[in-house]
Symmetry: C2
Subunit: 420 residues, 2 copies
């Protein structure tokens, strides 16, 4: 029988008792940020649950990890504490558990309508890294920029390629994105131009949120890497393709990416995703021993991108992809990141890179969907090559269980014009 909560949860909801993703919210504009868990259309206030003494397991009984403005302390406690919190909360919220269900005063303080709270960044992000782990995306970028001979650089098949991203400009879903200004370069020997980006794009990504870190100089074994990952969020790595194309040789993307990166507010735990695990694709050539996993997992997370074009009301779906399209797993990404001794810290973010599938309607960015602007997309009676001011982009992600979903909610942002 499917586990049920006493809080009524619509069958289409992303947040049944099987999910219980973690976020940080403000109950009112002036109040302190605090951690919460999503259940149906409500947020369960974990500070209230903690002060009522309901976290009574050995890891959490005496911890102040839920009296914090972010989840970093809880993340640093590791999987035993996460499992304890999950089982405590599943019990507390279950239909046949009276403690919270029958205590109307506690219930009123602990369960807040989701529509009335403000969601904030759930973590203080020390470092943000972005990988390049979808083969379809790597291939399409190569075809567009370098042509059909060797579209994928040889190192890609041996290394989960990545770059360091900008942590300061990561924002929570719903934050407007200001079109960046910068240099672009038309072609040949022409001089560069300066102005608002002419090729503003989204990138459909997910990101792993790091739990316990590692000491500088002490790599994480690939078979233990999952214990360092708390969960996943949706991520939009907004990209200015003209700025990126002109600046990226030889040191990689910089201002073409650092003007804004949006994440969804709810971190879905690996424990909640476990029922949706699937085998990762076979890797050929086989990875070097430090990247060879005993068990190599992806998760069956359906991803969808829609746009509400400027001045319109309705969203048009423009891409459907899936997390299973990743070639390099998130555990390989994490192990590779630390193999040189680099230290990770709780709350660090590891983006997957754009998750494109094999079919044109599963590509994860406009660069691919419109083939660098050559094939405009039709949507809502208009067309797009790249994003226009006023366009709003929505990502959703969801795992379909038997009678329930484990979903990520959404990750959205609207483009505002450049400053004059």
């Amino acid at each position: 029988m499917v586990l049920k909560s006493f809080v009524e949860v619509h069958p289409d909801s992303h947040f049944p008792i099987q999910n219980l993703p973690y976020g940080v919210f403000k109950a009112e504009p002036g109040s302190e940020p605090r951690p919460g868990v999503a259940i149906g259309d409500y947020v369960l206030d974990l500070a209230v649950v903690a002060s009522a003494g309901l976290f009574d397991g050995p890891n959490l009984k005496n911890s102040d990890c839920f009296n914090q403005p972010n989840l970093n302390k809880f993340l640093g406690l590791g999987r035993p504490a996460w499992k304890e919190a999950r089982s405590t909360l599943q019990k507390l919220l279950s239909a046949d558990e009276p403690i919270l269900r029958d205590n109307s005063s506690l219930r009123q303080r602990a369960l807040l309508p989701m529509g009335k709270v403000q969601m904030l960044l759930p973590i203080a992000i020390g470092d943000y890294t972005d990988f390049f782990a979808s083969k379809h995306h790597a291939k399409n970028c190569g075809l567009i920029f370098r042509g059909p001979e060797n579209p994928i650089n040889p190192n890609w098949f041996h290394i989960p390629i990545a770059y360091h991203g900008r942590a300061s400009s990561i924002v929570i879903s719903g934050t407007d994105i200001i079109r960046p200004r910068g240099q672009g370069h038309p072609t040949g020997n022409a001089l560069p131009y300066f102005g608002p980006s002419r090729k503003l794009d989204f990138e459909l990504e997910m990101a792993a949120v790091v739990g316990p870190g590692n000491e500088l100089g002490k790599p994480v074994d690939v078979n233990e890497a999952a214990d360092h990952i708390f969960g996943l969020v949706l991520m939009n790595d907004w990209s200015a393709r003209d700025i990126q194309a002109w600046e990226y040789v030889p040191l990689g993307p910089f201002l073409g990416k650092s003007f804004g990166t949006t994440i969804s507010p709810w971190i879905v735990t690996l424990d909640a995703l476990e029922p949706f695990a699937s085998d990762a694709p076979e890797q050929n050539p086989p990875p070097l021993p430090y990247l060879a996993e005993k068990e190599s997992k992806n998760y069956d997370i359906s991803l969808q991108v829609s746009i509400v074009p400027a001045g319109q009301k309705d969203a048009c779906i423009i891409s459907r992809s899936n997390f299973t399209h990743l070639y390099w797993t998130i555990t390989q990404q994490l192990a590779h990141h630390t193999i040189n001794g680099c230290n990770l810290r709780p709350g660090d973010l590891l983006g997957t890179g754009t998750i494109s599938g094999p079919e044109p309607d599963s590509y994860g960015c406009l660069l691919e969907l419109t083939w660098n602007g050559q094939k405009p997309l039709s949507l809502g009676g208009t067309t797009r090559t790249f994003l226009e001011d006023g366009d709003e982009v929505f990502f959703t992600g969801c795992c379909k269980g038997d009678g329930y979903n484990v979903g990520f909610g959404r990750c959205s942002g609207k483009i505002l014009p450049s400053p004059p």
Copy 2:
């Protein structure tokens, strides 16, 4: 007449009353980190000065910025507070000011022998960015990796090229550096190898420490950029050239850099460096308007690299360079960084990139000094192409004034072997 402090300062010292650089120290292993200023062979404890009520100017009188474990809060206050602190401290330490000089109990609490304290990272670094601002370095790298036709990529003359670096692995001078392991690639179609880096290098750099930041979406004008820079430190951006060469296409340096970056403990303020300002080199082609400065400054800072080879005692000087060899100024770097709306925060670090001069003995890394290992360096009766385990690398930087120095002390690190 030259300003003098009542604390005796040797004429060769880097830290006379004209300098007063800021750092963070622990008086004893168990004590709390707190901010201090270097004066001769002493550290002036700013928490003691503050609690004695000696910061009596309008910006600092009621501030707790010196009762903090790092300088970030002080940095965020901006130039008026920095100028006030400098004039308060220059007065307090001057030979003819009795308040501290003649109060032996206060003096004993406030002035600690530098040799007895432990220096820590002076700032909590949110984001670290590394530029590529020396033309000689860019040219040499191009000649080594791409050959004599167009050694410098065309974008370099229009953009202060940079990449996002890893903040978590920045360490304080004196911290050992563990040789990273990773993938390298011999040549052609060979398979990559894995193991301890075979081409471990230093990079002679300096880094600007950001003061007040900017809001996301609000670029900093190049002519106001200096107000966002508190000061400079020495920086060694340790690099594994074999890892870097194999991984960096197309997303830039990643694990070849992120295993460790060392900074010197004392931040020398722009106010202390002002007497050593010089005109920056003429830029041709002229920069785009957003990078065109009314006044374009470098600083005459002599830089020196020496190595104590493994098993030896004496240091051999292997390079002499100067901060004036930068083509792109630190204010241009900062303005460029924000032109897309990217937000900076107090304590962010902007590295200059390797500072190489025009002559072979002024190159700032072994890649250039040994021309990628082709011309071994002789030192102390032995030779080096790249760094060996046990080698210790020292940077110093100093401005020569009339009868005094404004110096940076040193930035050092010793190579330890890879884990087995």
